[in-house]
């Protein structure tokens, strides 16, 4: 049985509505009669996009300026729910702002939040699926505290799909006074320059790990990624070591990627890394240790030295 009403959080990035939002909208359409969107920003700019993905309404706070999303969007949602009743389910991404909003709202409504979900089923109550122990086990949990269920989903859990709907109707989601809790502000934004496709959208990802030996060797990964028109990625070990920025990190605390090909070079394959790349269509691993866990998921495993294999691979590809 479908749920009467689901609200999906619209996340906005430099390019407009973030992929995670469109992914959740596709799933929301499947499980609900009415799908609406809420956003901590102006609604007009996204009405056409979210409408084309099945949302019929956008509840928008308007531009929040430097106010932080978590407190303000949660306060606005709580007020709207108190005035007009709750949707059956709120879907948000396991993202920076998604977590903040859901956490603040859960306290306001005194309802649990379930995080890191990769699937949802509504045939017998609202049941979400969450991977634990680095994705080796799946837990199914049912919400038992009444509407709204608040659930956070990992990016790439669903496939975005247009519905052909017209622009969604925009209405105001008024932000009440947030008092002391609302006094933190954003004063500036820094956007790192990137070229080439985004890590979580690229068809090819070439990722490097501690096996590269030193920061300078990451150039090999960058060059290979460029040659394959893909994006470079990294294990947390080398992000923590400061070799590459956090935005390169793949895994539990980094990005989830599902490219056509994932090449892991000098990465051991810790469960926390694999949970972010196991969904890739094809995996190639290069590691000098034949016992490395990464080989357990690789379609093509090369037991060898990255310093020997990668330069030759690069040369062969560039020669074509």
């Amino acid at each position: 049985m479908a749920l009467p009403k689901v609200w999906v959080h619209a996340e906005i990035n430099e390019n407009g509505v973030a992929p995670i939002t469109l992914e959740m909208l596709a799933k929301a359409r499947e499980i609900a009669d009415t799908v609406e969107v809420f956003v901590g920003d102006a609604g007009d700019g996204i009405a056409a996009t979210v409408g084309a993905h099945g949302a019929t309404a956008v509840h928008a706070t308007g531009d929040l300026g430097g106010k932080l999303q978590g407190v303000h969007v949660a306060a606005a949602l709580a007020a709207a729910i108190e005035a007009n009743g709750a949707p059956d389910l709120l879907m948000l991404g396991t993202t920076y702002d998604g977590r903040d909003i859901a956490a603040r709202l859960s306290v306001k409504l005194d309802k649990p939040v379930l995080t890191n979900n990769i699937d949802i089923d509504v045939t017998d109550g609202i049941v979400v699926t969450t991977p634990i122990f680095g994705g080796t086990q799946l837990v199914k949990t049912k919400f038992a505290a009444g509407a709204p269920a608040i659930a956070l989903f990992r990016p790439k859990s669903f496939v975005a799909e247009e519905s052909g709907g017209g622009a969604a109707a925009v209405s105001e989601l008024a932000v009440p006074d947030t008092g002391a809790a609302g006094t933190a502000v954003r004063t500036n934004r820094h956007v790192e320059e990137t070229t080439g496709p985004k890590l979580d959208e690229a068809a090819v990802v070439v990722a490097g790990g501690r096996g590269l030996g030193e920061a300078a060797k990451f150039d090999l990964i960058e060059d290979l990624a460029k040659t394959l028109k893909g994006a470079p990625g990294a294990s947390r070990a080398i992000v923590d070591a400061g070799w590459v920025p956090y935005s390169y990190q793949v895994g539990q605390t980094g990005k989830v990627v599902k490219p056509t090909v994932y090449i892991a070079a000098g990465i051991s394959g810790a469960t926390q890394h694999m949970v972010g790349m196991k969904g890739s269509k094809n995996i190639i691993a290069i590691n000098k240790d034949p016992e490395a866990p990464i080989f357990g998921v690789a379609d093509l495993g090369i037991v060898g030295d990255v310093h020997k294999v990668l330069p030759k691979l690069l040369e062969a590809l560039q020669a074509r």
Partner: protein, 259 residues
Amino acid sequence: MNVVVCVKQIPDPADPGALNADHTLKRDGKLILDESDSYGVEMALQLVDKAGEGEVTLVSMAPNGEVSGLRTALAMGAAKAVLVSDDALKGAGALDTAKVLAAAIGRVEGADLILAATESSDGYTGTVPEQIAAILDLPSITFAKSVEIADGTVKVQRQTEAGYDECESPLPALVSVTAGVVEPRYPSFKGIMAAKSKPVDTVTVADLGIDSAIVGWAGAGQEIVNVEAAPEREAGEVIEDDGEAHLKIVEFLDGLKVL
């Protein structure tokens, strides 16, 4: 400058995780300081050091009166700890945990700043810190990759998808820090010895004035219906590099038509 740090004590992540029959995480063995929280402890110590006055207090919720993880953080230099340990908390969800920790933080006088990690290593819900802030009605900034205090204001570089935001908040406030924000120190021998006699205030749910009927399994508002093994991905071909393995990769990529 008084800083409270939430520190979770968890089963050693090097050991394979296991569940009890009631689907709760097995926590009966020895627990250790979650590495994610060692960054908060280090940050707190540095901030207090810079301010030249004040102290670092730890707050933790853990079963069986567990203190080993707390002792590690005390050995790093924290002054004292509040530990909430109560059988009624078995099965507590993130919101219940936040309610308990918020009440425990309430026992610490004059806290200017509360630090937590963005997410724990075993539960990684990533919601507890922000829930604590909401319960205490405090401003908060999550995902800090740098933290500075000046003139009663905390300035934070908040990690984002595309880079970082500069954020600031008046104190008191809560900040959650990412791994790598600072390099945690190793406890010195002196520190380890000193930690043995540092005060740990162990309290129950009732001591905090919380009704045990609203936390733990009873208050979770969620019900685990099933746990199963995730479908495994099958391993393919593994070959030893004979000097020509790169050609094999080219061939593989060719077959996928990504070249």
